[in-house]
Amino acid sequence: MLRFIAWRLGRAALTVLLVLVGCFVAIRSAGSPVDILYPEDATPEQTALLEKQWGLDRSLPEQFGLYVANLARGDFGVSIIERRPVTHIYAEKLQPTLQLAGLALLIGVCVGIPLGAIAALRRGRAAARAAMALAFTGYAVPHFIIAIVLILIFSYHLNWLPSTGAASAWHYVLPAVTLALPLIAAIARYMRSTMLDVMNQDYVRTARAKGVAEPRVVTLHVMRNALLPLITVLGLEVAGLINGSLIVETVFSWPGLGKVLTGSVSRRDFPVLQFGVIAYAIAVVSINCLVDVLYAVADPRVRVES
């Protein structure tokens, strides 16, 4: 088990390293890092110091080493537009983003799993068909269109819910629902297919042959086995959730990281962008890592093999 965790951590670290390489290459190909990472009006002394610090006169691998060392020291540069360390900017905006994404994940799980389970158990009936049609829709419609439709209906037409900002609890409803809908669709689809798979397993028949009551058969024998692979899928959906949150936060003018990050692209504010990408990548990688370890703990078959 410990070996498995160590191996998984190693893989995660390697992934992060590759992301750093990607960032490094992208920034180098865009121009001198001193110009890119620090405001243009830096004094010549400052520039010279930075050039030395970045080791621009040395070989590329050495430069990469320095680059990583700088990042490790926590020096992610200063926002070109806002003139302050990017870490400060992100620290302020982290909480709303986490809240929104967490809420969406919660809705996705709490609605998607029962929806998929019902679709599997009541297969062939009208309710199940409707649920899956809905899930199919959630799959094919992008976040920004869901957002616009929801805003049109609930903010402008019905005037029930606010569409911009995060001033009150009501402000969370539309962005969280927008973010959650595709997630619900993905989870429900997956849940349905694994449930159908598990329902045909011999051990479910064994449980029935024992005379176990049907609710217990469904929850303990079917759902429990169907939820195991879902853990892994959830980990993979986190990447999609982050994709979505970048867009949803922009549409709803959410005071979070999404707007900061997308804004930094059009303004070519590299320090901000770079930190955002690295931070998001680390978040996704560690969540996936955690998910794999969780899965290994939850599934006795994996537990023993490793």
Partner: protein
Amino acid sequence: MTERMPNRDAAVLNLPNVLEVRGLNVHIATDDGELCAVADAAFSVRDGETLALVGESGAGKSMTALAVMRLAQSAAIRVSGEILLRTGEGEPLNLLALNAPAIRAVRGRLASMVFQEPMTSLNPVLRVGDQIAEAIVAHEAIGWPAARARALDLLRLVGIADAPARSRTFPHELSGGMRQRVMIAIALACRPRLLIADEPTTALDVTVQAQVLALIRSLQKELGMAVLFITHDLGVVAQIADRVAVMYAGRIVEEAPVRDLFAAPRHPYTQGLLRSMPNAGRAARSHRIAPIPGSMPSLARLPLGCAFHPRCERAEPGRCDAGVPALEAIGDLRAVRCWRWREPALAAAENG
């Protein structure tokens, strides 16, 4: 095999039927229309008796067993007939007429089933001890700790050493034979009157197979239950059965006490089966293994008349391909479904 031979027939005859199946039909709806997986099956099993249901795969044996347990239920499957289970004094239960809670109370308590695939028949994420205890908790008003303690006894009963440690393992940590023992322990948890064993040894090694058979036999003696044993292996039949019902293409074609069946099979199909079997039955001598030509027809396109006639060397055109023969009783203990069983050619065939 000889030790199995003493004439128990008379004694067994006096015991009441635990299971009595009458006119059982199982229809399965497919894309190409409805087919009949089990047609007009009728048989009974008495207390302490083992009835073997024999046939090739696809003959309808497993479907019959699942139908008895009411486990053959989906939108596509239609079961009709009467399945009577005698539960003690009083009137027998007609299993097909029971509602869901009532059939649930029967399964695992009055009638249990052991399946063919020990590898996949246990829930992979639950400890085996809990899977046994679950069967007890489902039917008796006792708590989990007491049920777990009984599970340990059951593990010992099925011959698993070091029961406390084994009960905490997961199925994948056990060998196939071990898992089948666990399945038997689950089936016996509430001391059922009827045990249905669906090819319980097919997936096991030969040595393990013998152990499991011996276990089922000794437990049957100990608990006095009726056993419906499903297999395609006549060698296994010889070891375990008191009576045999042979199935072909959804119908029972011959029924007889095991000794009579091996000594004097009446149906050409049974005769063919025995001839195609190496080193068993009456002829451990130097007879040739002679497989039956052809293969069992698909249920979707059964031939007219007797389903076996295209493969039967004694088929008579105009008769065997015209109508389905009835299951005719021969004395008290035997029955055969063949148009020509009385004719001397058939009787002679078994001797030479």
